[in-house]
């Protein structure tokens, strides 16, 4: 059984409604026994028993790549929370939520979890949720790089303030969001049926399921940004594929915001779901042997790396590895 503490990152541009959403979550049954780590106290304010504040602190690691910078504040806070949870019997603390600042890039948080052996042994990334304001969201996405990155890195996007008079229509918002994150789950927080507790609690299950929408190419509104789906062979050779992907992320991880895929591989009967953020891949999720998968795929969200180059490279590499795979 996986007894690691689930971690949800709530991100979103300035004033998008992150804290309000978090308040709803903390009031839900699923939100009980949740520790919240914030980098700034927002206007909405959180009155919560397990609220921690940490000064945002980035440590650049070797290579000085920003997306792999270690969030020392978060590492220290998580270490302390896990230690406390274990000392106290471990039964009470069930979930950890990090609310980022509006201008923060979630990638270093993901890297902090994924690259530290102790951390990835005690904490698992449950979900990255981006909150997008229905009134100003589209303009912010066009004008600022931060919200684009936040959405690109998210597996779930929650639209806030859709009940306001100036809110953009949901189809327009969805089209804009899908152009950045084609496989993300998109929710309207003002829909009567929207349940933030269930949405966060089921995030991993939903993320590892096949996408609910047919992912097609979306025209990006911003030059250099691209999201695309590559159809994969019936079964891929795992040693060859991992070699290729690790080399690709080594060389271009700063330009590959997210990669996700559902594949059949040489190593196992059931499909596997893979996902990674920039240079960091998470351990694959294995589906049961009988799970249907008609069209294995990889989804890339990139900023500055073209689809054609990735597709050509992958096809060539897998073809060259085929004789060994026999």
């Amino acid at each position: 059984m996986d007894d690691r503490l689930p971690l949800t990152i709530v991100t979103g541009f300035l004033g998008s409604g992150k804290t309000t959403l978090l308040q709803r979550f903390l009031r839900s049954p699923e939100g009980q026994h949740t520790a919240v780590l914030v980098n700034e106290f927002g206007e909405a304010g959180l009155d919560h028993r397990l609220l921690l504040h940490a000064e945002e602190r980035l440590e650049l690691l070797d290579g000085g790549c920003m997306c792999c910078a270690r969030r020392a504040d978060i590492a220290r806070a998580i270490h302390e929370l896990v230690r406390r949870a274990k000392a106290g019997g471990g039964g009470r603390l069930r979930h950890l939520v990090i609310e980022t600042t509006g201008l923060a890039d979630p990638a270093p948080i993901v890297a902090t979890i994924g690259r530290d052996a102790w951390m990835s042994g005690h904490v698992r990334l449950n979900s990255v949720i981006a909150v997008v304001d229905a009134v100003t969201g589209i303009a912010n996405i066009a004008d600022h790089v931060e919200p684009r990155r936040q959405i690109a890195l998210a597996d779930t996007v929650i639209v806030s303030k859709s009940d306001l008079r100036d809110a953009k229509p949901m189809p327009e918002l969805e089209a804009t969001l899908r152009a950045i994150a084609p496989d993300a789950r998109i929710f309207d927080s003002q829909e009567p049926g929207f349940d933030i507790g269930a949405t966060i609690a089921a995030a991993e299950e939903l993320r590892t399921a096949a996408p609910v929408v047919e992912i097609t190419a979306h025209a990006s509104h911003v030059a250099g940004w691209e999201s695309f789906l590559l159809a994969m062979p019936e079964r891929v050779d795992w040693p060859a594929f991992t070699l290729w992907l690790s080399a690709l992320l080594h060389a271009h991880g700063d330009a590959i915001l997210r990669v996700k895929g559902m594949l059949r591989i040489s190593s196992t009967q059931g499909p596997v779901v893979i996902h990674g953020v920039q240079h960091v891949m998470h351990p694959p999720h294995h589906m049961p042997a009988g799970t249907a998968l008609d069209k294995p795929f990889l989804v890339f969200i990139t900023n500055g790396v073209a689809r054609a180059a990735i597709e050509r490279s992958l096809t060539t590499f897998l073809a060259a590895a085929q004789p060994a795979a026999a």
Binding site: D2, W238, P239, T242, S246, T268, P284, H285, V305, A324
Partner: protein
Amino acid sequence: MCEVCAIFGAGEHWSDFGRIRNERYPFEDIMHYRAERKRRIAMVNALIAPHGLACEDWDGEALAISDKRGRFKIAHTLNDLWPRIEELAHARVDPLVPAFLEVRRDG
């Protein structure tokens, strides 16, 4: 290494999780894991041999990269492999260029 059965060769890198179903340690089929590891090393060698480098398994725990002058570097995971190869080959690893490993002009 598995602390219980003292079997070497069960890594913690994401690529080491090809075989298992969601447990964190892939001991159910260690032989399959080792066979795939061996094939992966053969593929690495095919890529780096033109640059005078060789890759060997280091007790199933890490990868050892050496050049013809006997210089030697250890890579614990695939994440470390590419930087170590770049250091020894004075080349840049880039799967998007046809050569995969491109000699650095400044090297």
